[in-house]
Symmetry: C2
Subunit: 217 residues, 2 copies
């Protein structure tokens, strides 16, 4: 029941904590490969190299496993973007926004298979929503809007609606990630081309900045 959070410099895992970590890794891997609905307790146990019963020594139920995967294995997008306002005035706005794209798209790509399960079942969604009340998905564009406000205060971008602008960029990332998942393996080739994400970031930010009219940087 120890609330581990992240584990940096905690030494090699041993005993209970080790299999606990293995279970989370296995669950995350399965969700990414065979999908949430095929990520059964039996599959997770097999992938983690332990018995099904062992899962329940470390997690109350299957739902808690997924919640923990979400909290302990997902990249921290909101936190990463929340650091941006402190960097306002340094570098170029273009660089910062492209960096946002490069972080946001993989984050959403990884989150979609799990979020999909939530969307398909309102009660799971409600439970999950309650657990992250102060870190919901709308905070991403809100924090980006904060950054844009900071840059606007510094006179580095034009006087446009920061919330709407942030929504445009985050939305593009969100949709892009969806397309990557949807067409995984086959489909429109330009979605999975190597270097495609960097091109996407450059073109999208350029199109967005056309409106913001950088006055510096």
């Amino acid at each position: 029941m120890t609330d581990e959070g992240n584990r940096e410099g905690a030494g090699p895992l041993t005993g209970g904590a080790l299999t606990r970590a293995r279970v989370l890794d296995a669950a995350a891997r399965l969700i990414g490969t065979v999908g949430l609905v095929k990520a059964t307790t039996k599959q997770i146990a097999r992938e983690a190299g332990c018995s099904e019963a062992a899962l329940y020594k470390h997690f109350r139920d299957k739902e808690e496993i997924f919640v923990r995967v979400l909290r302990e294995r997902a990249p921290r997008l909101a936190e990463a973007i929340a650091e941006l306002p402190a960097r306002a005035g340094q570098g170029t706005v273009r660089e910062h926004l492209e960096a946002v794209v490069l972080v946001a798209v993989p984050f959403y790509r990884q989150s979609f298979p799990m979020a999909g399960g939530l969307l398909a079942s309102p009660e799971l969604l409600a439970a999950h929503r309650r657990r992250l009340d102060n870190a919901g998905p709308h905070h991403v564009s809100s924090r980006l809007a904060d950054y844009l406000r900071a840059e606007r205060r510094l006179g580095r971008i034009a006087d446009v609606d920061p919330d709407a602008t942030a929504m445009l960029l985050i939305g593009a990332c969100f949709h892009r990630a969806f397309l990557e998942v949807f067409y995984a393996g086959e489909g429109p080739a330009d979605v999975l081309r190597p270097g495609a994400l960097e091109d996407f970031a450059r073109e999208t930010v350029r199109a967005l900045l056309g409106g913001i009219e950088e006055t510096a940087g």
Copy 2:
């Protein structure tokens, strides 16, 4: 096995076609309320007012029910946007883009619960992807980009990347719809305020057009 497509002016439904329609309505309703995973064959039958066995007189399996709901009950977003290029040069670009938002957001909002189930299971997704090879989700922003190209040819908008610009707008709609589903019932109040969608359309398009710099209309 008659491939009905849409049924306009076909008179009141009767006999088999009637219960078939009732099943599709029931399935669509359940997906929207209790979610895809609780939309079991038993629930669908109960909601449609028939027996579970009756479902299988009209549909091969449960998956076909959902595919039919998607094809016969969902609004046709791609087609609606494909008509836009013909309207290039008429009215204002702003009006057309706001109209896109007002159609796209409800479309995505309705699609998310079903699409969520697909994202959670790659094999279902692959099957579905194969069935709509010429109408996949990337066509929406592609068709919008076609419209923007048409307007650019007419000199009504500036010389920006039409694909990236379309992706920004569609992405914002996509993300907005996701937020509406995610926070259904409770959450950030401004997402479900009456008139919120119109405001969103106006602000988003204005932020986008800041970059496009209308030269007319």
